[in-house]
Structures are given as structure tokens and as C-alpha cells.
């Protein structure tokens, strides 16, 4: 399977767009798989006995977390190899905004294992992202509290994704998630994989 990594900051509408990608490809009878990188890391942690749940996983030492990230990346690459024709999309972040700064979601040791064809940057107007974050009260998203912070995060995501692309030789594709119609972004993602 060809691998596309779909990144985007919280509130950009990534889950909705990826669900649409799956729907479109399923309707066309095209083999596809969507993998959430965080979920896959947890499954890998459980399988290898690193942790018993998400909380334990988060408390692992930096070294263990790094090893886990690499094991998960290898696992995903193996799924793509074993999966035959079609597309495998990874749902993750180019950077994660933490109290210690922007953490790259695709550091060298991860991106060189996955070796994707395309790294997508799903973007939207900071105003729209902010209003989506405010509506979504189920998640703790207080790290992104104003437009300038969102714009800075989008910019660092671009720098980080490009650095990862230079390491792997992948393309970097900016996709705008148009408010009200996630199928526009979904179709553009699919077209970019061909």
C-alpha cells in the first residue's frame, strides 16, 4: 500500500476528512486503511508489554517512548507492505504543542521507518479552527487559545513536515479543509496519492 501521512492541528477537522476519505475509497472498491498513530502506539505498547494502558504509556521514560515510536512506525510500514495494493493513511501530527514547545510528530527515526509517499498538511483559517475548538468541549484543547497561537502552530507544522520530507524524500502537500464540505479535502488527498 502507498502510505500518506495526514497531519493537522486539533480542530482542523482531520477525523472528519479521513472518515470521508475512507467512505470515498470504499465506495470505489479501492483497498484502504486508516491508522491513528497514537492508537497504534498504544496497541504496540500493550503487545510488547511496555505499558498496561494509555496513562502508563505516557509515563514511560523518554528512551522507552522513543523505542515505542520506532516500533509503532515499523509496525505500520509492515502493515503497508503486507496490505497489497491501495492506500494506507496515518492520522497524526506534524508538531504537537506542549508546555516544553513544539514536539515534532515525525522525527527522523519515525519518518525514515515509515517512508511515506506524501505528507499532508491539513489546514484551515485560524478563525474557523478556533471556533471548532470552542464547540468541542469533550477534549482538553486549551493550549490553542487564540488565533496567533494557531497560526504559529500551523507555521511550525509546515517547517517540521518539510524537514521530515527532506529526510524521506516525500512530497509535502497543503490541503485546505473548506468549512462545510470535508469531501473537497478528502478528494484532493486521494488525487494526490496517485
Amino acid at each position: 500500500m502507498k502510505i500518506g501521512i495526514v497531519t493537522g492541528i486539533p480542530g482542523v477537522g482531520k477525523s472528519t476528512v479521513l472518515a470521508k476519505v475512507k467512505e470515498i475509497l470504499d465506495n470505489q472498491g479501492i483497498n484502504n486503511k486508516i491508522i491513528n498513530y497514537g492508537d497504534f502506539m498504544l496497541a504496540t505498547a500493550l503487545k510488547l508489554g511496555y505499558a498496561k494502558d494509555r496513562d502508563e504509556m505516557r509515563k514511560l521514560s523518554v528512551e522507552k517512548q522513543k523505542k515505542l515510536q520506532i516500533d509503532a512506525a515499523k509496525g505500520i510500514a509492515e502493515e503497508a507492505r503486507a496490505g497489497g495494493e491501495g492506500y494506507l493513511f496515518i492520522d497524526t501530527h506534524a508538531v504537537i504543542r506542549t508546555p516544553s514547545g513544539y514536539l515534532p510528530g515525525l522525527p527522523s527515526y519515525v519518518i525514515t521507518e515509515i517512508n511515506p509517499s506524501v505528507i499532508f498538511l491539513l489546514e484551515a483559517d485560524p478563525k474557523i479552527i478556533l471556533s471548532r475548538q470552542k464547540r468541542d468541549t469533550t477534549r482538553n484543547r486549551n493550549d490553542y487559545s487564540d488565533e496567533s497561537v494557531i497560526l504559529e502552530t500551523i507555521n511550525f507544522a509546515r517547517y517540521a513536515a518539510t524537514a521530515s520530507a527532506v529526510l524521506a524524500g516525500s512530497t509535502v502537500k497543503v490541503i485546505v479543509n473548506v468549512e462545510g464540505d470535508p469531501s473537497i479535502a478528502a478528494n484532493e488527498i486521494i488525487r494526490s496519492m496517485k
Copy 2:
């Protein structure tokens, strides 16, 4: 020979500036060579029997193309070593705008073979680039159709060139191609190599 990589998006005037660089150095009796990376890749493909022409080269598998890129990079580095004193300039792109996104022209496996002293970013006002692209009807340049697209490409070229420079320890130099006088940019390129 010291190696400088000269990058710039279509319409910025790269060929004209590099011809001027050659003219100035020839007049000063300084040993120099300008290599177009795409042409060198084709020559390498023909020599190694990967392809019989440019069309066949473009249809090679991703793996073969990557091998070809590396072989070409090694070939250029070898020419620089064998060339004695003076300057070798490589005419290429920091990113190429494709339907699948921005493709890095200097990915890790290329930049670490070439190990240039300087990566140049030849830039110009998006308005001027757009009007030059419109005048040049001999090439298919419809990928860059408005100013905001040109500006985005220039920005991603900066991110990608900087990532490549971090890998190789090269400098990144922005050069403005002033409309009407390519010798200004040419002289600045030569000065930056010293």
C-alpha cells in the same frame, strides 16, 4: 572545486543568472563549471542503462529514481573533486511543485553526497516571476498560476533548503534577482563562494 547549489523556482531567471556567473568567472580566468542536475541525471541514466531517454527516465519506479538521484549526486561530487581549484555550480530546485505536493529537490540522500558549501535561494518578487512565466510560452508552467502560489512555493523552498543545509552543514544564502540586471545576482553568488 567548491560546490554551490543554485535553486530557484521556474521564472525567477536562474538560467540567465548562471550564464552570467559563467561569463564573469571565465573573464576572470577562474576555473568553473555549471551542471544542470536534471541533465546530469539523464546522462547518468543513459550511461548506467536505466533508461534510453527522458521519457523512460520519468517512468522509472520510485526506487530506481532514488538510486539514479544518488548516482548523479555522487557523479557531480566526483567531478568537483577531480576538477581542481575553482567553483562548480549545480542548477536545480529546492522544491518542485507537483500534483502530489512539494517534492524536495535536495533530500537527505542527495545533499549528503554533494555536501555543498552554499545552497543559494534565487528569489524575485512574485509579480515579476508571474509575468516572466507568462512571457515564456515554450515551457509548461501552469502549476504556478497566481501570486499566492508563487509565494507559498518560495516559502517551502526556504524551509526545504534550510533542512538540507542542517543535514550538510552548508550555508543558505538568499539572492534577489533584480529585474533587468542579472549581473547583480551573479556577482553576489560569486562573492558568497569565497
Copy 3:
């Protein structure tokens, strides 16, 4: 010791902020060390017999300088390992503006030896940086002569620091040095290390 790399362009107030960081941590009885990367390189050059003073060090061949950079990076990593608990801060640059372009201060072969937890980008309003540079007549800072040059340098520092962070898996943290109170930036740096 956990390692934080503190970068910032000349005039941003890096030395003052780092002195404040030291003062705060000393007052709290927390083990800490501030290492200036350039000074550490010189000490390494003297110890290994590469050069007898700073002038000789600057005239070393590119290859020797690279080896020296790596030796210094290894030396600092060794100090951190031997230093027990606490924080080690490295005072350096994400990019250095030279006549040949922006030179990355944390190229691949340096950042992978140091492996910092956080790379800090100490920033300030270009206007303020410019006025600080003008007041400081003891140093030759004529490379940064107007606001647009300072802004461009700040931007390339962001791209380069992010590329280095992608290589090492470090976070990148933007810290604003508020005019008149370096303790704000100092406290934020300390908080980000936890």
C-alpha cells in the same frame, strides 16, 4: 543533567536571560551549568592541539572545524551525563548570519551528539533588537543593519531549529524576551525544562 539549547540572534538579550536563569536556579538550590558553545569549542581546540587561540581556530580548514564542532558536542554531552541531576544550558545560535549566508548552528552532526530535550528560540521585536545592537558598540554587529534583515534571520532561525529538532526528536520552544524584565523569559525557560 537535562540539556536545553538556548539560541537567539545578537542583540536579543541571550546572555542577560541566561545569567538570570543561573541566578534563579542557584537561589532554588538546583544544580545547573551554562556552557557557551563557542567558548567550549575554543577550549576543546586548545586541549586537542588544533589551535593555539581563537584566531587560529577560525582559520582551520572546513573539515577540521567540523571535527572540532563534533568533539565539542561530545564533550558537552559527556558533561551532562557526568553532572547528575539538574539542567545544562548551551548558549549558541540556530543560524549565524555570514557573508556566505545563514550557517546552521546546530547541523545534523552536532545536534545528534547533544540530543537536547528542548531547543529554545529567544526572540524579541526586531525594533528592540536593532536598538540594542546600536547601543552595544563593543561588538561588530553590522551584519544586522535593518529590521527586515533581523526578521529574516529570526525566520531562518525558526526553520533551522525545527529541522534540528526533527533530527533529534527535541521540542522547539519560542520564548519572547520582554523588554525590561529578563526574568520573565528566564522563568519560562526553566518551566519548559520540567
